[in-house]
């Protein structure tokens, strides 16, 4: 974090529509299509913030606390465009969760995430089928381009 990003230009990425979220200053980026996301994190604070952030861009977001719950959800037929998985989940860790989700044929974009960027963790996640590994916090700079890509 601490990157100097021009938020005005990020906000200008929307189609200029007035729907989505009403902000006192200007428009907030919002996705055009119905996008869905799943947040998998055993920490309540991160779950709450990541969920709120995604929802603020119009992404229908669910959150679960464990890898097992995520796997169960997908096994029951739920599909998501984007799945964000914390590395250090207890029992079924992040990469193992990703592996099981991929094994079920899920085509979702999978983001591994953790408090510390660690190359070993990155390798584990990518080997398990995740598309990317990032360091917390989940920021607009990271998430807007991903949503935009999924939306187009």
């Amino acid at each position: 974090m601490g990157a100097e990003v021009d938020h005005v230009s990020l906000m200008g990425m929307s189609g200029g529509s007035a729907e989505g979220n009403d902000r006192s200053e200007g428009q907030r980026f919002s996705c055009k299509n119905k996008l869905t996301a799943l947040v998998v994190d055993n920490g309540a604070v991160c779950r709450a913030i990541q969920t709120a952030l995604l929802r603020s861009y119009g992404v229908e977001t669910e959150a679960v606390e464990t890898g097992e719950a995520a796997v169960q959800l997908i096994a029951s037929g739920a599909t998501f465009n984007l799945i964000i998985i914390e590395m250090l989940l207890p029992v079924l860790n992040g990469p193992e969760t990703a592996r099981q989700i991929r094994a079920m044929g899920a085509q979702s974009k999978i983001l591994g995430i953790s408090a510390f960027f660690d190359e070993r963790h990155q390798q584990e996640f990518l080997a398990a089928g995740a598309d990317r590994f990032i360091e917390k916090p989940l920021s607009p700079e990271i998430v807007i381009p991903i949503i935009w890509e999924l939306d187009n």
């Binding site: 709120a52 917390k136 989940l138």
Partner: protein, 151 residues
């Protein structure tokens, strides 16, 4: 002098000093931007979660580090959680101490870990205090009939 104007000034000064002194960073602004009509108490709710969570983690860390045979994997997991949550709300100084904390953990350096635990407890209590003051000022302002802009 108008009470509302006075409170607005106090709030603005207090907020500015929090950023200036490095207690909070830009990520806290992100939280404020997520607060709106459909989520009117988002910041207070999330920060309250952070307080609860941090206190639990600090207790767990103290317990884990006083064991005969310290389980550093457990300590590491707690430090990860603390860094994750503090970085997500923009509690920059708390987040900062987690970095050397994790390094000491990897080295299985008990003394280093204990020092970091003391430091992180200190930083946490400072930021908790300042955030509680912030919320109190906001409440007073609203009670006096004023409002505050979200950054």
């Amino acid at each position: 002098m108008d009470v509302v104007v006075q409170l607005q000034r106090q709030l603005a000064d207090h907020t500015a000093s929090l950023f200036h002194e490095g207690f909070l960073n830009e990520q806290f602004n992100q939280l404020q931007q997520l607060q709106d009509e459909s989520n009117p108490d988002f910041v207070v709710e999330v920060v309250s979660l952070f307080f609860e969570d941090s206190e639990r983690l600090l207790n767990e860390l103290a317990k884990a580090l006083e064991q005969q045979a310290v389980d550093y994997k457990k300590v590491d997991a707690h430090v990860h959680q603390l860094k994750g949550s503090s970085s997500s709300i923009g509690a920059q100084r708390v987040q900062g101490v987690c970095i050397p904390f994790r390094n000491f953990c990897e080295e299985q350096n008990n003394e280093g870990c204990l020092k970091c635990l003391q430091q992180v407890k200190h930083e946490y209590s400072l930021v908790k205090n300042k955030l509680e003051t912030l919320f109190k000022l906001e409440q007073q302002l609203i009670a006096a009939g004023g409002s505050f802009p979200t950054l």
